[in-house]
Amino acid sequence: MPNPEPTHLFLLGSSHQTAPIEVRESFALGMESAQQLYRQLKTAPGLNECLILNTCNRVEIYGVAGNDNSREALEKSLSETDGFNAQAFLKHGFWLTDEEVVRHAFEVAAGLDSQMLGETEILGQVKSSYAGAAELAATGPILNRIFQKSFQAAKWARTHTGIGRGQISIGNVAADLAQRVCGDLADISVLLVGTGEVAEKTTQALVSRGVKHVTVAGRNLINARRLADEFGGPCISISDTPRVLGYHDVVICSTAATEPILRKEEVKPALKERPTRPLFLIDLALPRDVEAGVGRLSNVYLYNLDDLAEIANENLKARQAEVERARSAIVERAQRVWSAIRGGE
């Protein structure tokens, strides 16, 4: 049966595409502010449905209104929300309507609008935002339909195209490689030499994939202790690194040393202690911490920052090549959903 009321679907948002990080920081919505905004939107005249998508890279407000004055009402609600920089948000924001909104929602869910193209975390965030909005009875038949279909579209894109192929962050590339060398990461030992940020993130990526034993070696034992506590492992002095090398399967180096801290002569004895177990060395330092010749030793796999970045870039290119294929399929799906919504009016 046709819906007698015309539907005005809109989206007011700001994301990494339109706002730099320092601006995005100023309008990040806290839990309390988001709840307050929901309350205001639900009482806004003419607004039938709404959903707030609030992540570190975007704040987007999806709505369905019975009239086309929704933008003014929405901007007024935003300006009245505590702790939210509405001025910055609107200045760096974008406004979409009707089919464009459906298309955008589909692209966001599929990771096509993400800073890290094809990432999967966004789908979980969209699902969580939708569940939150549904719980507050803020969504209705139109947004329910759009978001449920967006989940299907995202799943389709991930299964049938290569947008999620390969890792594109240094940490995850290193973790992928560690799995190719060591298999199950739960029973390996990682030695983190130095306390650099990239090395810390790489170790975090390994820990997120099951690594349980992390030893931190550092010049500054206070910093090393702090990091070791974070990973629940012991800390040692950097000078002890060659001595304990044989007990570890993955070694991540990122010191500020000007000379290599691991040379062939130091690695060879360690290999004798573990002749059949491969050793994976990740050198994230510049200048390099591991002498290049170490990589030529049998059963040693040495990767430096350039090697990891090259793989990450190749994966990114592969993803970008798939984007158009995924996007055109998603646009087609969005058109079908929008036509169905219009047909139901």
Binding site: T159, V173, R180, G183, T276, R277, P278
Partner: protein
């Protein structure tokens, strides 16, 4: 009237076609970066295994023994062992792509045996038809070749993964292949298992040779001992860590090819004599 052993070739053909389909299905899935539909692949592989098992079963009934009387049957049994061992190992070691590679090896062995009809000659008195111990010896020896075939497969997987890691290659194939450490581990177990089985086979063969000297020719004896000694040396070098990682994997592949080729001189000698004296490949001692 001699039994018609050619009637079961159709079963071997169907088995080989199914192995080929399984292998190429996996290959296309991998190269197109699409998800390998495991159910389709496993249906094809299991189908091939079942048809090949039926073929061997009917052969066995006709020959009243495990069918190992000519090169065709030896290659078929070897392929059958390779798939069978892989099906078990896949469950035990959870090694990705092991079945894909085993389908490839079995496809090669089956196609090789089927496209050479001369190799499937009739043997009125095969090696296994006399003493059951000789049959047991032959079956064990071929089973150990199957184990070495699997070892060659896992070694190839090791070399591919190692190539990917050393040449900084990434892609679906490398991510699907088992890890270097897993492959090292399984290789060390397979070499021990294969050498143990072959040692038992050689011991039984040796005792049989002592009991009935002259039934086994010098060439066969030398080849059998050479293969056994080569794998034994490989195991020794592996256990003393003198040959590990890529060199060990390369040696396993080369040795398996050599072991397969070592069947060749025996096959030729047997084939030459088959029409005249109707004996199998183990008859080079006969006049």
């Amino acid at each position: 009237m001699p039994p018609d052993i050619y009637s079961d070739r159709a079963l071997f053909w169907i088995g080989s076609v199914l192995y080929t389909m399984a292998f190429f299905f996996a290959l296309v899935s991998l190269s197109s970066e699409k998800r390998l539909l495991r159910s389709i692949f496993m249906t094809l592989l299991m189908g091939g295994f079942i048809f090949q098992s039926l073929g061997l079963y009917f052969r066995g009934i006709e020959e009243h023994a495990f069918p190992l009387t000519n090169p065709f049957e030896i290659l078929q049994v070897m392929a059958w062992c390779a798939v069978g061992i892989n099906l078990v190992l896949r469950q035990v070691f959870k090694l990705n792509l092991l079945n894909v590679f085993s389908a490839g090896l079995s496809m090669l062995l089956c196609v090789l045996s089927l496209t050479n009809p001369d190799w499937d000659y009739t043997v009125r008195q095969g090696v296994t038809s006399g003493s059951p111990w000789v049959g047991f010896h032959a079956a064990l020896a071929i089973f150990s070749y199957g184990v070495f075939g699997v070892l060659a497969i896992t070694s190839i997987m090791y070399l591919i993964q190692n190539y990917g890691l050393t040449q900084r290659k990434s892609g679906k194939l490398f991510n699907l292949l088992p890890a270097i450490r897993q492959l090292e581990d399984i290789n060390s177990k397979l070499i021990v298992f294969g050498v143990s089985v072959l040692t038992v086979a050689v011991c039984i063969g040796f005792l049989n040779w002592l009991a009935t000297p002259g039934t086994v020719g010098l060439l066969k004896l030398l080849v059998a001992v050479a293969v056994w000694a080569a794998y034994g040396i490989l195991l020794y070098l592996r256990n003393t860590h003198k040959l590990i990682a890529s060199p060990f994997a390369r040696a396993c592949v080369i040795l398996f090819i050599a072991a397969l080729l070592s069947l060749w001189p025996l096959t030729l000698r047997s084939a030459e004599k088959a029409s005249a004296v109707t004996t199998g490949m183990h008859d080079d001692a006969q006049p």
